[in-house]
């Protein structure tokens, strides 16, 4: 790896230094672009690096500061965006051949808010095609490597965004989380990742995978940076009908509030030692995290939520069903890849056949089947009923607990090709999926290491709009975490 960037390193510190004029935004941006140029050939976190746009935006920030104009809370902070966020004038591909050269004519609401806050887009990051996957191996443009061990995956689907932060390409990045796609790669790359409450952050301009589950959130190296980012992107958006229409409380002021008296539940179904695929070190770290919270004054208890495990089956009906409809529009008629055909139907079929990868096709077929006449009740309908029951179960538990704790991922970063069987890969989402189905917020915080010295993430879940409590807990865990011993793979 190239030399570490001179301080400031975190988004909070960069924004403060740029705002008070002690560091120029252009030099911050150049440092990060240098790092990308040096290392991204190997990591492949980015699909697109927007170097010139970034330099220009940085110069504008510096000019504004020189002119004494007020700047936003992320002034001069380089950010990376998952390549399923629409960015006006910047190619947005979803890591799919079908959108390979598509340039959106508009910015996603989140992108507008980040730009208005002074953040500087340095590039668009790799993902599993249309966010379908848990390893970023499903990208049409090749996988992203885990910066901590380049023989291993960064997780997914927001693997590029997680790797960009872990590699120091940007202090802050953003992804989308449909079944764990922020939290799981955050865990595997040793960074912080937040999936906010469904509806807390606008989905307008996020290219949909599964509309009722998708939610945008940040990656960062510190809990404080994730809180800062959340405060910038959260809030009602009239362009998203599912956006929560009320004023949200800023979470940053809650960061140092501690966990004294907080009721913490360890979900027994997600920390059982006999669960298939759960690495013992991962379960140990979650248990130690709970003890750390107890030491800090929280009331920690074990709690059973039997439906938590069943979420996986419901998820793999609901998400593909919505996806099968959301992805219908990629038909070669208006934009994206078009293949010739003897008539319109043949053209559409040829374009979709050539444009989509295997995992996307698999989920479109699953979803189409689940919604078909005669099967709807047995599959989609049943999954929705299970989802309703899960929401009720979790709401009931949250009457007695402020937050719940579990591992984020059953395992640490795994080698490329290790989970080639789709069902094995799907199982990787077992801890993260419940929060998507319930719409509740959850955060993954690095907490020590597991097998091969690779990072382990602990997941903190809470009820609707409990982000402030999640950040209180995450801050305590961040301080209590055992020092991370760099894995062997990092010494490149």
């Amino acid at each position: 790896m190239s030399d570490p960037i001179a301080a400031p390193r975190t988004a909070t510190d960069i924004a403060a230094a740029v705002a008070d004029g002690s560091v120029a935004a252009v030099s911050i941006v150049e440092d990060h672009l240098d790092r990308i140029a040096a290392d991204d050939g190997e990591i492949h976190a980015f699909n697109t690096v927007a170097a010139e746009d970034a330099r220009q935006a940085a110069a504008e920030i510096d000019a504004a500061i020189a002119a004494g104009t007020a700047v936003g809370p992320l002034a001069g902070v380089p950010i990376a965006l998952k390549d399923n966020f629409c960015t006006s004038g910047v190619t947005t591909t979803c890591s799919s051949r079908i959108l390979q050269d598509w340039v959106p004519p508009y910015d996603a609401t989140v992108v507008e808010r980040l730009r208005a806050a002074g953040a500087i887009l340095v590039g668009k990051t790799n993902l599993d095609e249309f966010a379908m996957g848990s390893s970023t191996e499903n990208s049409a443009f090749g996988p992203t490597r885990n910066p901590l061990d380049t023989s291993r995956v960064p997780g997914g689907s927001s693997g590029g965004s997680a790797a960009a932060v872990a590699a120091g390409f940007a202090p802050l990045s953003f992804g989308s989380d449909t079944g764990g796609s922020i939290r799981q790669p955050a865990s595997l790359c040793g960074v912080v990742g937040l999936k906010p409450t469904y509806g807390a952050v606008s989905r307008y301009g996020l290219i949909a995978f599964a509309s009722s589950l998708d939610q945008i959130g940040p990656f960062s190296t510190t809990v404080a940076d994730a809180a800062l980012a959340f405060d910038v992107i959260a809030g009602h958006d009239p362009r998203d009908s599912t956006s929560i229409d009320r004023k949200l409380q800023a979470v940053t002021p809650a960061l140092g509030a501690g966990v004294e008296g907080l009721r913490v539940g360890i979900v027994s179904e997600l920390t059982a030692r006999d669960l298939a695929g759960f690495e013992p070190e991962v379960v140990d770290r979650a248990t130690e995290a709970a003890e750390a919270l107890g030491d800090a004054g929280a009331k920690v208890e074990e709690v059973s939520i039997p439906s938590a495990i069943a979420g996986l089956a419901a998820y793999y009906m609901i998400a593909p069903a919505e996806a099968s409809s959301n992805l219908a529009r990629y038909d070669g008629v208006r934009y994206g890849r078009r293949e010739p055909g003897v008539n319109t139907a043949a053209m559409m079929q040829a374009s979709r056949t050539a444009g989509f990868g295997d995992e996307v096709k698999r989920r479109i077929m699953l979803g189409t089947y689940a919604l078909s006449a005669g099967y709807y009740d047995a599959f989609y309908g049943k999954a929705q009923r299970l989802r309703t029951r899960m929401i009720e179960d979790f709401e009931r538990v949250y009457a007695d607990f402020d937050v719940l704790l579990s591992p984020t991922s059953p395992c640490v970063a795994f080698p490329f090709g290790a989970k080639a069987d789709p069902l094995t890969m799907y199982y990787n989402d077992v801890c993260t999926i419940p929060s998507n189905l319930t719409g509740h917020p959850a955060i993954s915080v690095p907490f020590g290491t597991g097998a091969d010295g690779l990072p382990v993430g602990v997941q903190v879940m809470g009820p609707m709009l409990a982000e402030a409590d999640l950040f209180r807990v995450a801050t305590v865990l961040e301080q209590a975490a055992p020092p991370a011993t760099p894995p062997s793979g990092a010494s490149r």
Binding site: N84, F85, C86, T92, C94, L99, W102, P104, P105, Y106, A108, R203, Y204, G205, L206, I207, A208, A210, S211, S212, P238, R239, D240, S241, T242, A321, E322, S324, S325, A328, R329, D331, V333, R334, Y335, T344, A345, M348, T368, L371, S372, A373, Y376, Y380
Partner: protein, 484 residues
């Protein structure tokens, strides 16, 4: 909730062989007169250069999300209330199928929970047709096929215009209560009048803002069963609707009488050939995979909002016709007056003392809609009274009326200016005798039965009186003298 009453209708006996009757249900799509589209900020206007009234949302660009147009919901509720529906909590669903003029390859519609359910529509003849539901949805774009001659080597292509994509629609589904083509046509006419009256739609069938699909089946007359129906699309006028229904019903009867049966399918009306043709085959039959649209939240109109809309509803065509009829106007004239939106003027004139029948005749036949709104109801009443009291002939009254619309003057002044005084019978008879004396040959031929010469005599008199002679009186005189 209202109970559908038994309907009138002839059963189409005169159109069908044997002892069969028609069973018809209509699905009417009407574009709502909103400023913007159903889920997108793009303008809702007819015409325009292709692909100019578009926005990322109605183009279905990746990442965009729909937001319900509140005005469209309000117009939808107006329609529901006018059709005596129950207005309820409703959910938008996706209807999934691939079609190039549909930007998302699904249509946002309402499936299980429609905005309006269980309504009724009373036709001009008093029969009542059940309305199953009236739900909101979005329109598609339009495809134009270029060089599509059907020859296999012809390199055809298609152009797509998305200006119409996302325009708000209400789909009004009747119960299968209609029994003949005339009744179906009057249902559409009445529904159209309601849509226009409540300001929800311009109802223009020729511009495609009102579209009708017909579900047609037949059964032995008087039976209760519902047999296999076919949905007839591509019906672009009321006349086509009648023809298509008759054709389709006969086709069903022919099949049954040959020991066969129709199969449930969508058929397209071919106006030129005067027949329906099968659409997509059963093998290609669509499974729309409906599910609730996760991008939208249910709409639950508050009782206060519904009552506010109800209170602001204008009088409906049926009520307006009834009001005129109760004041003595004939039904046909009242219907025309309402259709022309001039019933308010007619009512005001009648209340000012004008004779109802003459009043609605003028309103229905002699007044151009343009300009009529400036007509003073009291002046109009005076004119009708001058005519009914014999001070003006029918012809003179029409001329005065036209002048009134143009100049805004009162009828007495206009009549005096024009020198209009109704001629009495004596004067007219003297004049007629002169004309007969001048044309002795013609008169004897007319007396011998050459009837077409009547026009010549009337013409001569009208010429001499500058059109002031009472035509009816003149004809009576001619007849009497010829018989002498």
């Amino acid at each position: 909730m209202t109970i559908t009453e038994p309907t009138a209708g002839t059963g189409g006996h005169d159109l069908l062989p044997g002892d069969w009757e028609m069973v018809i249900g209509l699905e009417v799509h009407a574009e709502l007169a909103t400023a913007t589209k159903m889920f997108s900020p793009a303008a809702n206007t007819f015409g325009g250069e292709p692909n100019t009234n578009v926005h990322p949302v109605c183009l279905g660009l990746p990442g965009t999300l729909p937001v319900v147009n509140r005005r469209a919901v309000e117009l939808g509720i107006r329609i529901g209330l006018a059709l005596e529906c129950t207005v309820q909590r409703c959910v938008f669903a996706r209807k999934n199928y691939f079609y190039p003029d549909m930007p998302k390859d699904y249509q946002i519609s309402q499936y299980e929970l429609a905005l309006n359910v269980d309504g009724r529509l009373e036709l001009a003849d008093g029969s009542v047709i059940g309305v199953e539901r009236a739900h909101l949805e979005e329109d598609t774009g339009k495809s134009t096929h270029v060089g599509d001659s059907g020859r296999i080597h012809d390199a055809g292509y298609s152009l797509v215009d998305y200006n119409r994509a996302g325009v708000p629609l209400i789909e009004i589904v009747s119960r299968p209560d209609l029994r003949d083509p005339e009744q179906a046509k009057s249902y559409v006419e009445e529904l159209r009048a309601i849509l226009v009256a409540v300001g929800a739609s311009d109802g223009k069938m020729e511009e495609g803002s009102l579209r009708v699909d017909a579900n047609v089946s037949v059964r032995p007359a008087g039976a209760d069963e519902l047999r296999t129906r076919c949905e007839i699309k591509n019906v672009n006028s009321l006349r086509s609707l009648g023809r298509a229904i008759t054709y389709e019903a006969r086709r069903h009867v022919d099949l049954y009488e040959a020991g066969d049966a129709p199969r449930q399918e969508t058929r397209h009306w071919d106006e030129e050939d005067g027949r329906t043709r099968a659409g997509r085959s059963k093998e290609e039959a669509e499974d729309y995979r409906y599910f609730d649209d996760p991008d939208l939240v249910p709409i639950d109109p508050s009782p206060e909002w519904i009552e506010e809309i109800r209170a602001a509803l204008p009088a409906l065509p049926r009520q307006r016709r009834q009001a005129l009829i109760e004041r003595g106007a004939p039904a046909a004239g009242a219907a025309l007056a309402v259709e022309r939106d001039l019933d308010g003027l007619a009512m005001a004139a009648i209340e000012a003392g004008a004779e109802p029948e003459r009043t609605v005749t003028h309103v229905a036949n002699n007044l151009a809609v343009d300009g009529a709104e400036s007509l003073d109801a009291n002046h109009f009443a005076e004119l009708v009274t001058m005519e009914t009291e014999g001070a003006l002939t029918a012809t003179q009254a029409k001329q005065v009326l036209a002048d009134m619309v143009e100049t805004g003057r009162d009828p007495a002044t206009i009549a005096a200016d024009k020198g209009f005084e109704a001629m009495d019978t004596g004067e007219l008879e003297t004049l007629l005798d002169q004309v007969i004396a001048e044309h002795p040959d013609e008169w004897s031929r007319f007396k011998e039965g050459e009837a077409k010469l009547q026009g010549m005599f009337v013409g001569q008199i009208m010429k001499a009186t500058k059109g002031q002679a009472d035509g009816k009186l003149l004809n009576q005189l001619l007849g009497r003298k010829a018989a002498e």
